[in-house]
């Protein structure tokens, strides 16, 4: 394989961005559909090249291809090299990013049809895909950080795509600022590691960490700093607040960036730096604890949301928590020497990334389904939907497959990776295992709550009464083929992606097709999932139980969940307004006006006062000066005579 292929995978979408921004947008604005075609074509080519890379990697010894790197920056003695990593992890991520991105671009041509910002949309999408591919290929922390911030920028631009809506503009700013808090820790960790080891190269850092050349405390702090970047990007507690708000962006953006790829960058980062994490028990325990807690914490909020995209957003946070949990528990096993190091490093990456791989397909499918529903009904509120199964059969079937997959029903994709995580959690961290099990039940409940409220029963939308007796209102119809086809392909992937030998390719183990059913944990989780589905059916479809009375019985909990634990209020009203604006900023303002300005003004004032005093000596009377000179001369002469 020519060494330019991985670079071409990254550069093609980038050139697409350049062409759209500098040629199509200024000169061919009357033909915006060209932007969509160019983006789709470039990402499609990237997908083909990625498949080539995957084939090469799988036949290479150790699943690693060595690639040349180039000198990028030389600052004094510090030389930053720019190169690409092509190993199993990168190859899998390339496939995930290019395939989901390609399908989302196709879908977007239907979803964004007629939008005045059509070209701008595809320019940003191209740029995002390029940065995401660069992030995956980066072989050192500096270039990784550059692409890391690049995807953050594109996320900002696309969340705020409809910037004339204040909510979208605010959500974009919020996403940018909240992730920045985590990125600060990431940057600090990069510089800290560099100051201790003198290298940015990820491969070298792996060797140093495994050889014990980096001190334990240094390693722990560096890993936690890197993890704080992952917390921000992957919307883990306590920096999860931006992701639900990010749903203000166009739905395909949510599917690509906020479900499949960018939010998974945090998982990818931890997986990429896994040897560093696995060398510190504190670091992996933090990863597992944050992941496990976030999984159940976000799931509780997903139970009560009425906005279909917000349910999916909390579900994404929860599933990302699962991935962190998977990485963390295997890391705990490695750090405790329960798993041999040479097995554990591959296994941890496999457990986390396998779920990322499956999640990318079924979650982007669910988002595209939500977008399709929105395309027909014009709302995201599930209370105003219902009965769409009849008018949107394809959307219904694909959404149902996605839901079954995320819930973890055998033999759909979500089952395989979720079982892996649960198994390892049981082996290495029992407390988090129970949290994860409860989350399985919640996941089933909230997903099927959405399914039943959206697709079952009768249409409850505002235009149901006006335009005919039934749900078959003129505006309610299945989305065009350009939108349904990507959903169909993703639905197939959401079924079969778990059967692919991704896990063993990454260095873990793969279950045999029926062998997985021999595990009791698999049965327990599926029974819990079935109970969740049954409860959702009882409440929202069969109406055996009244959801209203259930809500009244658990009113405090319901309020707690639907107000998102008041965390937004805590951050905005307490931390930002009380602590920062009313507290620290007042103090800093006082310091600035009184101390910093005070010193300058004090010096000026003192000079003026002293000048006012001293100028009285200057009488302007020539004779007075003369006397002074005369007395002075006398004094000098006297001194001369006396001390001579």
């Amino acid at each position: 394989m020519p060494s330019g292929v991985p670079l071409a995978i990254f550069l093609l979408p980038f050139f697409s961005f350049i062409v759209i921004s500098f040629i199509i947008r200024p000169f061919l604005n009357s033909k915006p559909q060209l932007s969509g075609y160019i983006t789709t074509a470039s990402i499609g080519t990237s997908l083909i090249l990625s498949l080539w890379v995957l084939a090469e990697v799988s036949s290479a010894p150790g699943h690693v291809l060595s690639m040349p790197d180039y000198e990028w920056l030389a600052i004094g003695d510090t030389v930053i090299r720019f190169g690409v990593t092509v190993d199993a992890l990168a190859a899998i991520m390339l496939i995930v990013v290019t395939s989901v991105s390609l399908l989302v671009q196709v879908y977007s041509q239907g979803y964004m049809h007629g939008d005045p910002g059509y070209s701008r949309y595809f320019a940003f999408m191209s740029l995002f895909t390029a940065f995401m591919l660069g992030l995956v290929l980066a072989d050192n922390l500096v270039s990784l950080y550059v692409f890391w911030e690049g995807v953050g920028l594109c996320s900002y631009l696309l969340i705020g795509f409809w910037f004339h809506r204040p909510a979208a503009a605010r959500a974009a700013t919020k996403a940018f600022l909240v992730t920045r808090i985590g990125d600060f820790g990431f940057l600090a960790a990069i510089l800290f590691l560099y100051s201790k080891t003198g290298t940015f190269d990820i491969g070298e850092l792996h060797h140093l960490a495994l050889a014990g050349a980096i001190g334990g405390t240094v390693l722990t702090w560096a890993a936690i700093g890197i993890f704080s970047g992952a917390i921000g990007k992957s919307a883990q507690f306590p920096l999860h607040t931006w992701l639900p708000d990010a749903m203000e962006g166009p739905t395909p953006v949510s599917a690509l960036i906020h479900a499949a790829t960018m939010v998974a960058a945090g998982i990818y980062l931890v997986a990429r730096m896994f040897p560093v994490f696995a060398s510190s028990l504190t670091a992996v325990t933090t990863v597992a604890a944050i992941g496990g807690f976030t999984a159940i914490f976000a799931a509780t909020m997903a139970l009560v949301m009425n906005d279909i995209k917000r349910v999916l957003a909390y579900s994404t946070i929860s599933q990302l928590g699962y991935m962190m949990l998977g990485l963390g528990v295997v890391g705990i096993g490695v750090a405790n020497d329960a798993i041999p190091l040479e097995v554990g490093l591959g296994l941890g990456v496999a457990v986390g990334i396998f779920h990322l791989f499956n999640h990318a397909f079924f979650k982007s499918l669910l988002f595209l389904g939500a977008g399709s529903v929105n395309h027909a009904t014009g709302t995201f509120d599930i209370r105003e939907m219902g009965g769409l199964r009849k008018v949107m059969p394809w959307t219904y079937i694909t959404f149902l497959i996605g839901s079954l997959s995320i819930v973890g029903i055998w033999p759909l994709a979500g089952f395989w990776s979720k079982e892996g995580i649960l198994d390892h959690a049981w082996d290495h961290q029992t407390a988090l295992f129970f949290l994860a099990m409860i989350t399985v039940f919640m996941t089933a409940f909230y997903m099927f709550r959405v399914v039943f409220l959206t697709f079952a029963g009768e249409y409850r939308g505002s235009n149901a009464g006006h335009s005919g007796a039934s749900a078959h209102a003129p505006s309610l119809r299945e989305s065009p083929l350009v939108m349904v086809a990507p959903m169909g392909i993703l639905a197939i992937l959401a079924v079969i992606s778990g059967w692919l030998p991704v896990s063993s390719f990454l260095g873990g183990e793969s279950e045999s097709f029926f062998g997985a059913l021999a595990h009791p944990i698999a049965w327990v989780s599926m029974v819990l999932a079935a109970l969740g589905i049954l409860l959702a059916y009882a409440l929202y479809s069969a109406k055996w139980l009244s959801s209203e009375s259930l809500r009244r019985r658990f009113a405090p909990l319901h309020t707690l969940f639907s107000r998102k634990y008041w965390i937004d209020e805590l951050y905005e009203r307490v931390i930002v307004v009380r602590v920062l604006v009313d507290g620290i900023f007042v103090l800093l303002n006082w310091f600035d006006t009184r101390i910093v300005d005070g010193i300058v003004n004090g010096i000026a004032g003192g000079t003026i006062v002293a000048g006012k005093g001293i100028r009285r000596l200057q009488t302007g009377q020539l004779q007075a000066y003369g006397i002074a000179i005369f007395v002075g001369v006398l004094a000098i002469v006297a001194c001369f005579l006396i001390f001579g």
Binding site: R616, Q618, G620, Q621, L622, Q623, G626
Partner: protein
């Protein structure tokens, strides 16, 4: 009694002191100018006396220079005094306080 160097120097010192007193104590600008002339001439006497008793021509040359400077100073000084008198109608130096704070 022969007249020696010290007599010239005493004369010079007396004249210089009179001139200095006049320059510092008088209010009339013309008188101050005259006092400065007395001081300059007192110095001239000392210069010429040193030249005579020290057998050096330098003192006499210096005296010539001082006379030239004194003439120029008198011309410029008087011109300034006349200009001030025209604008302020006084030559009292204590009234010349425009540059004062």
């Amino acid at each position: 009694m022969t007249v020696g160097l010290e007599h010239f120097l005493i004369l010079s010192a007396i004249l210089f002191s009179i001139g200095l007193y006049g320059a510092l104590a008088k209010r009339n600008a013309v008188v101050i100018l005259m006092s400065i002339e007395i001081m300059l001439n007192a110095v001239n006497i000392a210069m010429v006396a040193f030249s005579r008793y020290g057998h050096l021509i330098t003192g006499q040359v210096f005296a010539i220079f001082i006379m030239v400077v004194a003439a120029a100073e008198a011309a410029v000084g008087l011109a300034i005094i006349i200009a001030i008198y025209r604008s302020r109608e006084t030559v009292d130096v204590e009234k010349f306080d425009l540059m004062k704070w």
